[in-house]
């Protein structure tokens, strides 16, 4: 009687669809990690380390590798434009390029890295829909990316065990939401697990890919398992290789190769104190309630709502930098060799991670973990040289947040419109309107700054975090690989053209006036606002071919307008294409040649902080009217 009954919703477009709840945590992390490219100019803040750095395959190594290979070269910039796939380049060494007239001949390049388990990440660019990139782990476990929306997999031999529900052997996965148009940089991360053999050489576990993220979208919902092979060919095995067909560019190829080595702990003594403390110096003077030996790091050895410490020996297999990640429900500290390594700033938020790292020599070290057990959750993971994130604490010492069942806001024939909170560039945006256009184009619009935040293809949003119980996070979750734009307000007041832009708008001190939106007969909104005399109408629709988002801007000057600029595309770079149009933000998306603008008025401007924009001055006398249109494609 007390259970919440599942109700039939009138909401014609809201359906119940099973989705993996954990997806969104990973997605959020992956989106952050997917933003690789040249560092932002003038960014000097120390970035928090949440993972050890990857090993890069540098320009010199690649230069060696391509020495005698035809059709391969190193360049500083590359454009793969138009349907004929014409390739133009600029000098430099940061990009590895394969460009050829022989469109269907594959060309393989060994990257020289012999490996077992590994994580890989790279940026790649395909010139046309028929171009292909294959990443071959151990030389023959292949992940194939094409210019269409399909990923394929190939194995060296027939499966030792047949494909089963628990361990399916995928041959291909469709991922239309993750697709990017040719000529744009795409980002791939994957985790490869090498096959396992027993002492007698029998295959005990096939090779598999455990996670694939393409442009921030988690692709496989189950591990991709490869067919087996003989052990002799696997130890040490052939090196990592890439095979390309047609016009393909790569950059930022990096990996982490893993071994079997792990940290281990021994001689663990636990000590339980009465009471619970926000600092640990008090403990040093107290008599404990009890103490004893234990073989695992678990708060169960202690008492409820009291302090517990663990002391013991930490065996470090290999010297190097070790990164620790601590999550705990209550103040917690890790000390190694009596030096504090990481603490969680006394929080009881057992989901929030805290990171810090330490250089450790090989051999034995003393460690101490102190935990004020408020909420029965203590999770300590670490990453080390050749060691992926591994848990030190007991698995059951982690308390899990209650999972919320997904609730899809399905868009079929009517557009979806929903205001709510939305994650953008790692922060919560509280003024978002999410719009789902029937046909599968979706965008998130900041209705406080009038800027496009994000766009994605496929399904609309998951609203479970808004309308389940109290809806604590109020977050709309996009159901597709998200293209994040800069989110900079497009209307700027700049005394000088190159002045640095205003990034934020305070809701209660907004420079925008006469703010509204209208719903048109197609059910989609058109936004109105005025900014220092310029009255603007801002309309987003699906482009005629359905591939991108078309923006139509109408400006009329209600008064004399001076110093006002409209930022079309903006980001780290704005590159004009020879065939017309622009590539924005280090080739994250295309911006078609705007229609309705006098070509001389449009300009590319680098602001004082290094950011670049395609800009249009709106200055003019009262009564001046202007209307222009452009499409963003990705």
């Amino acid at each position: 009687m007390a259970m919440m009954k599942k109700l039939t919703l009138y909401f014609p477009t809201v359906k119940h669809v099973p989705l993996r709840p954990g997806l969104y945590v990973l997605l959020a992390l992956a989106v952050v990690s997917a933003c690789s490219g040249p560092p932002k100019p003038a960014e000097t803040k120390r970035v928090l380390l949440t993972a050890l750095p990857f090993d890069s395959i540098g320009a010199d190594t690649l230069a060696q590798r391509i020495k005698s290979a035809s059709d391969w070269s190193q360049v500083g910039n590359v454009f793969m434009g138009g349907s004929e796939g014409k390739v133009t380049t600029e000098k430099g060494r940061t990009i590895l390029l394969h460009a050829t007239e022989k469109n269907s001949v594959p060309s393989t390049l060994s990257l020289g890295v012999v490996h077992d388990d590994m994580d890989i990440q790279l940026d790649f660019m395909l010139g046309r829909r028929q171009d292909m990139l294959t990443v071959s782990f151990k030389g023959h476990y292949s992940l194939i990316l094409t210019g269409t929306n399909q990923l394929s997999f190939a194995s060296p031999g027939p499966a030792v065990a047949p494909s089963s529900a628990a361990h399916p052997i995928h041959h291909a996965i469709l991922a239309p939401e993750a697709y990017r148009a040719p000529g744009l940089w795409q980002h791939l991360t994957a985790r490869f697990r090498a096959p396992r053999f027993d002492a007698a050489g029998i295959l005990t576990d096939s090779a598999r890919i455990e996670d694939i993220y393409l442009n921030g979208q988690h692709i496989s919902d189950r591990n991709v398992v490869y067919g087996g092979t003989a052990p002799e060919s696997e130890k040490p095995g052939a090196p990592l290789a890439i095979t390309v067909v047609g016009n393909v560019a790569l950059r930022h190829i990096a990996y982490k190769a893993y071994t079997d080595e792990r940290l281990s702990i021994s001689n663990i003594q636990y000590t339980v104190y009465k009471g619970i403390f926000k600092e640990y110096d008090t403990l040093r003077k107290m008599t404990p309630v009890r103490t004893g030996a234990t073989d695992s790091l678990h708060w169960q050895a202690g008492d409820k709502r009291s302090q517990i410490t663990f002391k013991g020996t930490l065996h470090v297999p290999k010297a190097g930098g070790y990164l620790f990640r601590l999550r705990a429900g209550g103040p917690a500290w890790l000390l190694i060799d009596d030096r504090e390594v990481v603490n969680n700033h006394g929080t009881r938020d057992f989901v929030r991670p805290f990171y810090d790292s330490m250089q450790l020599n090989a051999g034995d070290h003393s460690f101490e973990i102190i935990y004020a057990n408020y909420d029965q959750s203590l999770v300590l993971d670490y990453e080390g040289p050749g060691i992926p994130f591994t848990r030190l604490t007991a698995p059951t010492a982690e308390r899990h947040e209650e999972a919320i069942e997904p609730l899809e806001y399905a868009v079929t024939t009517e557009p979806g419109i929903q205001r709510g909170f939305f994650m953008h560039r790692g922060k919560v945006n509280t003024y978002t309107m999410a719009i789902g256009i029937p046909g599968g184009l979706n965008y998130a619009y900041d209705i406080n700054t009038y800027s496009l935040l994000s766009a994605w293809r496929g399904r609309f949003i998951d609203v479970s975090n808004m309308w389940t119980s109290r809806g604590e996070s109020q977050r709309e979750l996009p159901l597709g690989a998200v293209l994040e734009l800069s989110g900079v307000p497009p209307l700027q007041l700049l005394a000088e053209e190159r002045n640095v832009w205003q990034d934020t708008v305070a809701a209660d001190q907004t420079p925008f006036a006469n703010r509204s939106y209208r719903i048109e007969t197609d059910g989609l909104p058109v936004f109105h606002y005025s900014f220092h005399g310029a009255s603007v109408e801002d309309r987003w629709r699906a482009s005629a071919d359905g591939d991108g988002l078309e923006r139509t801007i109408r400006v009329s000057n209600a008064a004399d307008v001076a110093d006002v600029y409209f930022l079309l595309g903006n980001g780290r770079t704005v590159e004009k294409l020879p065939q017309g149009g622009y590539m924005i933000d280090d080739k994250a998306y295309y911006l078609t040649e705007p229609k309705g603008i006098d070509g001389k008025a449009l300009r590319i401007v680098t602001a004082g902080d290094g950011r670049v924009a395609l800009m249009l001055p709106l200055a003019g006398p009262a009564g001046k009217q202007l209307s222009f249109q452009y499409t963003i494609l990705w």
Binding site: M1, A2, M4, K5, L7, T8, L9, Y10, F11, K304, R305, D375, Q376, E402, I417, Q418, R419, G420, F421, V428, T430, Y431, M433, I447, N448, M466, W467, S469, R470, G471, E472, S473, Q474, A506, A507, D508, T510, R515, S516, Y517, R518, I519, E520, P525
Partner: protein, 666 residues
């Protein structure tokens, strides 16, 4: 006693109510005697998911309702005059949790989380097409930052309120959280008043004065309604983060002036300029647990014109408040009025035919009404009940005005009346127990000539205290029983008397028996310590089985079933990780609901006992726990069988319960 005819009448009512409700949940606790005078009808919603956030009538007679999921629906013929099923039109959607709706001059106005929006259907096709931003609110992303209103003032300006953020306690993380703001039609925002926590409902009385409703929480010992004027500070200090901002009427009033534990709100308030104490306190659990909307009673709804009706979300009921001015400030009494609504009440609005529409939702905050959401219509059947119509303060007691002449002989007997004065602690902690409770002797009861009022002469009254009045067994001259026999008067000020008034009291006091009983405000763990065993018995060598139970949002335990073997030594740890007070009681087989209802009957002593009744049906219990605290109890599992456990905090036990299954010894 009801005669046969009334019995069948009520039976039919109950059956009709059951039939209407049967698509959702079992029948909520209706008080049949109230339904003799007021009918409560479900407005059939069909497939529409109507979690009511705001309601307003349109000029064409349709009822506009905005929902927590961001929609606005127009309901045609909600009176069901033309057909059994009203027509629903989806007028707008996509808003962000709008919690208030008003109509003005051709447009609907909503206050949603981020914005106060004006919504217009310019081409009259019953679909809103123009959404204009009137004002934008700074937000931190905290889930508790709700926005309410707007309420239109006669001059065309609007009032809105902004809820505090919640970070384990109420805080004002974004600008103007905890404030009431005035917004002009062209969007100018002026800070109006501060000191609020969860000001979910506010309305005007007939004189055009604004009252807002507040919920128990940190700094707020009990729900209340307060008359609020420009420049007032309504007691919660978190909002003072912004007191020095431009336009603030409270410059110079800072949080640092409020120690964590203050004690007497009434005394402290005298030292703080602009401090506005509650006008009517609604004692927590006795008169609701989460006061929501406020409306003023018009003609045609019983003999209460001009009084205020106050909704309650947690207890699914509507209560009544009578207000008067003493020394120029509002104070008065609250009375029970109508119980048994189908879900948690958030909004009240009057229909054109004097019917009251009650808009409800309980997602996230379970209510005694078990439905997830609902819309009901209340109509007065035309006959007034025998009720205390007004309770007025006099220099030496109270005058009670009744709706019908009283039975004179009964009403003159002072033993009919009992009055208890009590107060609450004003402190940073969440809520407060009743403290400093004392009986006030009733020295004389003077019945007026027309029998319509009784003047009570009462000793021991204290300014700044709430006074509970019980009138047990009083009948009208026609022998009709009093429908509701309890009232709570917030006696902020005792009216000035003359010397003659003082002499009257002195002579009466000489002939009276004084007895003051102070109640022990200790505990919160029930009356029998043996049933609350918080330390491991010395005879136990160890605990055989440990059970940990926490809470889930929506007033639930996170475990609704656990098993222990018969005879095992059990340590049960109850961890209250919610943001409200809870306890855990294990009862005899099948007696969960019985014990839960017994807790409701504890009255004023309930809080000090932790709402734990002293009954044989209770086996073991924890104390009533503050948010984010836990307690262990130790007991030996009884004979095999299913033993219910509940949280007995008033209003919780219907949803917050489970079963301890004792398995037979092997």
């Amino acid at each position: 006693m009801m005669n046969t005819r009334s019995f069948y009448f009520v039976l039919i009512l109950l059956l009709a109510a059951f039939a209407a409700n049967s698509q959702t949940q079992p029948v909520p606790p209706i008080v049949p005697k109230e339904r003799v005078f007021y009918s409560v009808t479900d407005v059939p919603l069909g497939p529409v998911l109507l979690e009511v956030g705001g309601m307003a009538f349109m000029p064409d007679g349709r009822l506009a309702v905005c929902t927590r999921r961001g929609e606005i629906w127009l309901i045609e013929d909600p009176y069901q005059k033309k057909s059994k099923t009203p027509k629903f039109v989806r007028f707008a959607h996509g808003l962000h949790e709008p919690l208030g709706l008003a109509y003005s001059n051709g447009s609907l106005y909503v206050n949603q989380r981020a914005e106060l929006t004006k919504i217009t259907d310019t081409n009259k096709d019953d679909k809103a097409d123009l959404f204009e931003t009137v004002a934008s609110w700074p937000l931190s992303g905290n889930y508790h930052e709700y926005a309410y209103g707007p309420l239109f003032l006669p001059n065309g300006d609007m009032l809105v309120t902004l809820n505090l953020s919640w970070v384990g306690r109420g805080e004002s993380l974004s600008k103007w959280r905890g404030w009431m703001m005035r917004v002009t039609p062209d969007g100018k925002v002026i800070p109006h008043a501060a000191g609020m926590r969860s000001p979910a409902g506010f309305g005007l009385n007939d004189a055009g004065d604004v009252f807002f409703a507040e919920n128990q929480g940190d700094w707020i010992p009990s729900g209340k309604i307060t008359h609020i004027e420009a420049g007032d500070f309504a007691t919660h200090p978190a909002s003072l983060n912004w007191s020095d901002e431009e336009g603030s009427p409270l410059k110079g009033l800072h949080r640092s002036q409020f120690p964590d534990s203050i004690g007497s709100l009434h005394e402290f308030g005298k030292t703080i300029p602009h401090f506005k104490e509650p006008s009517v306190i609604f004692p927590h659990t006795l008169m609701g647990i989460s006061t929501s909307d406020i409306v003023s009673v018009p003609d045609g709804f019983g003999p209460f014109k001009g009084q205020l009706l106050v909704g309650d979300q947690g207890h699914s009921k509507v209560m009544r408040a009578y207000l008067e001015k003493v020394n120029g400030k509002y104070q008065g009494a609250c009375f029970p009025f109508l119980e048994g609504f189908s879900s948690g009440i958030l909004r009240l609005v009057w229909g054109t035919d004097h019917s009251l529409f009650v808009g409800m939702t309980s997602r996230g905050w379970a209510a005694t009404g078990q439905a997830e959401y609902g819309l009901q219509r209340v109509d007065w059947k035309g006959k007034p009940a025998f009720e205390i119509q007004e309770m007025k303060a006099t220099p030496n007691g109270f005058t009670l005005v009744f709706t019908k002449p009283v039975n004179r002989k009964q009403a003159e007997d002072v033993k009919l009346y009992s009055i208890t004065g009590f107060t609450y602690a004003y402190h940073k902690k969440y809520g407060s127990p009743v403290i400093d409770q004392k009986t006030c002797p009733v020295l004389k009861a003077e019945v007026a000539e027309d029998g319509l009022s009784v003047r009570l002469y009462v000793g021991g009254l204290r300014e700044g205290y709430v006074h509970q009045l019980n009138v047990t067994g009083l009948k009208a001259a026609t022998n009709e029983p009093l429908l509701h026999d309890v009232a709570y008067y917030t006696l902020n000020a005792i009216p000035q008397g003359t010397d003659a008034d003082k002499k009257v009291m002195e002579s009466m006091a000489q002939h009276a028996n004084h007895h003051a009983t102070a109640s022990d405000a200790k505990g919160g763990c029930g009356a029998v310590p043996a049933k609350n065993p918080t330390t491991m018995p010395a005879s136990w060598k160890k605990v055989d089985i440990e059970i940990v139970i926490g809470t889930k949002p929506g007033l639930k335990f996170d475990k609704e079933l656990f098993e222990v073997p018969e005879g095992s030594r059990v340590r049960l740890i109850f961890s209250n990780n919610d943001d409200m007070l809870h306890n855990l009681l294990i009862t005899k087989k099948g007696q969960g609901e019985v014990v839960g209802r017994a807790a409701l009957e504890l009255g004023l002593d309930g809080a000090s006992l932790g709402y734990i009744p002293n009954t044989d049906d209770l086996l073991f219990t924890t104390c009533l726990l503050q948010p984010e605290t836990s307690q262990s109890i130790y007991f030996i599992a009884p004979k095999a069988g299913d033993y219910p456990y509940i949280c007995s905090y008033p209003g919780h036990f219907l949803a917050m319960k489970g079963v301890m299954r004792v398995t037979p010894k092997k």
